[in-house]
């Protein structure tokens, strides 16, 4: 099996899907000639031609709006939003249209499409090249939201998303694009769109995380181990719909829970995880449920390393709930 970076695995997933299925196409700003600002789509226009991989005008509303139209008429569009921070001009098309089309038409019209977009901090991008907007989309019935953290998952989840009959928001942790490597099977395979990944088994503290926070939590768990704390790390990876039973089970396993994400805390995704546990497994909890998240502020630039949850902050929370 070849060893690929996360970025290469996504490129591989795109090409694999496009080879497999003629109706798959990729478009967005700068994805063609340039191969995307991160070069995720390098080589795709060359292999599949300008009709299946092309640059769009600078309008996210147009990108998602036309993708919905393509999807309802037999194509399987993959629409790239250059940075997740720039998805908001398309918010109406995503939330009012893609998410609700099947429902409002009684299944007569559907929007099987993938919206791929890099999200998250760690590249000194400041307010507008760093955000993690998953909570906005996970509050939107009709959408699926996926965040890979390994090259294997990135390819398998991407192919599953492309094949899925419903609109999927595929959030790519840009901090990991070139930072993680892993074995990736050749050819086509899928990873189930409602499934958790146990990163590490443990009996002491359950840590829920996803995307670029997974390696941070792993590093924290290694530290914790030195102090005799045995972390159970769950990569949530398919944020919506979520394997809720899997979450509850993992929480019950240790009775001590930490939830980690980059986005602001208030009304963030972590709140849902805590709430779910407080609703279904509170009597198993032996400590407060702690969240380690970005602060409730816009995303800063120079001080981003203080803003982003790091090993130390995760470790603090793990120790807190462990020693409670």
């Amino acid at each position: 099996m070849p060893t690929l970076t996360l970025l290469q695995a996504i490129n591989d997933g795109l090409k694999t899907s496009m080879r497999e299925d003629d109706s798959v196409l990729l478009f967005g700003e700068d994805v063609g000639k340039k191969g995307g600002v991160f070069l995720v789509s390098e080589g795709i226009q060359a292999e599949f031609g300008k009709e299946r991989c092309f640059d769009s005008p600078l309008s996210e509303d147009g990108i998602i709006g036309t993708a919905i139209g393509m999807a309802m008429n037999g194509l399987r569009p993959i629409a790239e939003i250059q940075f997740q921070d720039f998805i908001f001009p398309a918010f109406d098309q995503i939330v009012s249209e893609a998410a609700k089309l099947r429902y409002r038409s009684g299944g007569q019209y559907t929007a099987p499409m993938v919206i791929r977009t890099p999200y998250g901090g760690g590249i000194r991008g400041g307010l507008y090249h760093s955000q993690s907007g998953e909570a906005y989309f996970c509050h939107t019935p009709g959408l699926k939201v996926v965040v890979p953290s390994t090259p294997h998952d990135a390819k398998g989840l991407l192919i599953a998303s492309i094949q899925d009959p419903d609109p999927v928001l595929f959030l790519e942790p840009k901090a990991l694009y070139r930072a993680v490597k892993g074995e990736v099977p050749e050819g086509s395979y899928t990873v189930d769109l409602t499934s958790l990944r146990v990163v590490r088994e443990g009996e002491g503290v359950t840590v829920f995380c996803y995307g670029a926070m997974v390696p941070v939590c792993e590093a924290a768990a290694k530290e914790a181990e030195k102090n005799g704390i045995d972390c159970h790390i769950v990569d949530l990876r398919t944020l919506y719909p979520l394997d809720e039973e899997g979450v509850i089970e993992a929480a019950k396993r240790t009775g001590r829970v930490v939830v980690v994400h980059e986005a602001p805390r208030f009304c963030g995704y972590g709140g849902e995880i805590s709430a779910m546990i407080a609703e279904s497994a509170i009597e198993y909890m032996e400590a407060p449920i702690r969240r380690v998240t970005g602060f409730d502020t816009p995303f800063p630039n120079t001080l981003e390393h203080h803003y982003l949850p790091d090993k130390r902050r995760v470790l603090d929370a793990v120790e807190f709930v462990h020693n409670y």
Binding site: S59, G62, L75, P89, D92, G107, Q108, G142, P165
Partner: protein
């Protein structure tokens, strides 16, 4: 290219100056019948709404020729991306009044399963009449994407995207027309300039000289047409459809017309539409105007007209009766069609809803088991 003087075909005396609509007598009468059906459907809906039997409806009086004229330029393999004031297009293409009434009553037979407000229709047969959405303008880029798909596969399908004067200010108008022109997508954009966006006048909506001129910003032709003139609309839209079908790309058509009713049954236009405007436009009513042509062509007498009206009215009344007698959607329809397959959390929530209904003694609970 862009015109500012609206094209007119049918003269006040019913003459057409040699224009050949290319329609058989039956087809001409079908156009007429469709306009009449819109008018009568509306009339009945207003009554149903006023008597509390349906919640809401949207009047179309005055706009019938635009709807039917445009629809008549399409093949059954083309798609309509309608606004909420366009159901005449569906009627013309053979959607039956009862299917529409199911939607007005939001019942179990409604293709939208009672999830949408009335007049938010969705059909795939006999023509694709795309699911109407309340947010204004979102369907415009969607029509462009659907057109791109057709073009990519080498099909000669054309998409008609229809919207109001207010719709031209929407985001979807800007992105949709821009993408369509860059992609040379087979789409016809039909702007129904009916004078108002709810209470907002055209002058408050835009400072441009009408709407057809907006085509210039996108590099496509823009044409203005008398929207109360069935033949003029048919002519202009047919030309635009032909251009789209043969690879010539999109066109923006502005149909100048007037909304003779309120915005909806919740709206009283008297607070903002000057009475004179209603009067002057009443004189241009598209239905009598087309009647004159038909009469002149020997296709309509006051007898045949009266019979036709009776027949259509009966059909629509019967449709309403059927729809009103049809059961409400099953409780499980709250949970279906969110995704292609029901996720676990919706199964749980569905069962909760059934349990609760059962405990309340609500018939919606059926046997109490969530059936999905």
């Amino acid at each position: 290219m862009s015109t500012t003087e609206p094209l007119t075909v049918i003269e006040p005396d019913g003459g057409v100056n040699g224009y050949d609509p290319g329609l058989t007598e039956d087809e001409l009468l079908h156009c007429y019948r469709s306009m009449l059906a819109v008018r009568l459907f509306d009339e009945l809906c207003l009554k149903l709404q006023r008597s509390g039997r349906i919640g809401f409806s949207i009047p179309n009086e005055g706009i019938e020729a635009t709807q039917v004229g445009a629809a008549s330029a399409l093949r059954k393999s083309d798609w309509i991306f309608p606004s909420y004031r366009d159901f005449g297009m569906a009627l013309y293409h053979g959607v039956s009044p009862v299917e529409m009434m199911h939607n007005m009553f939001g019942n179990a037979a409604d293709s939208a399963k009672g999830r949408q407000m009335p007049v938010h229709f969705s059909f795939v047969e006999p023509i694709r009449f795309y699911s109407i959405s309340s947010p204004i303008g979102t369907h415009i880029p969607q029509a462009v994407g659907a057109a791109y798909a057709a073009k990519l596969r080498g099909e000669d399908t054309v998409m008609l995207a229809s919207f109001g004067d207010g719709g031209t200010s929407s985001l979807g108008f800007h992105s949709g027309l821009n993408f369509a022109a860059v992609w040379k997508a087979p789409v016809v954009f039909l702007c129904q300039n009916n004078g108002y966006a709810i209470s907002c006048t055209v002058e408050e909506q835009t400072a441009s000289d009408g709407f057809a001129i907006k085509a210039q910003a996108y590099g496509m032709p823009g044409v203005v047409v008398d929207g109360n003139d069935l033949f003029a609309v048919r002519k202009v839209v047919s030309e635009a459809v032909e251009r789209a079908r043969t690879g010539g790309g999109p066109t923006l058509v502005e149909a100048k017309t007037f909304r003779m009713g309120g915005h909806s049954t919740s709206d009283d236009p008297r607070s903002y539409v000057p009475a004179e405007l209603f009067e002057s436009w009443r004189a241009k009513d598209p239905i009598p105007r087309f009647e004159k042509y038909l009469a002149g062509a020997g296709l309509l007498t006051s007898d045949t007209r009266a019979n036709l009206e009776k027949e259509v009215r009966a059909e629509i009344q019967d449709a309403a009766r059927q729809a009103e007698a049809t059961a409400k959607p099953g409780l499980e329809t709250i949970f279906s069609d969110v995704y292609a397959t029901l996720p676990e959390h919706l199964r749980r929530q569905g069962q909760e809803a059934f349990d609760l209904a059962a405990r309340k003694g609500d018939a919606a609970a059926g046997g109490g088991e969530f059936p999905l």
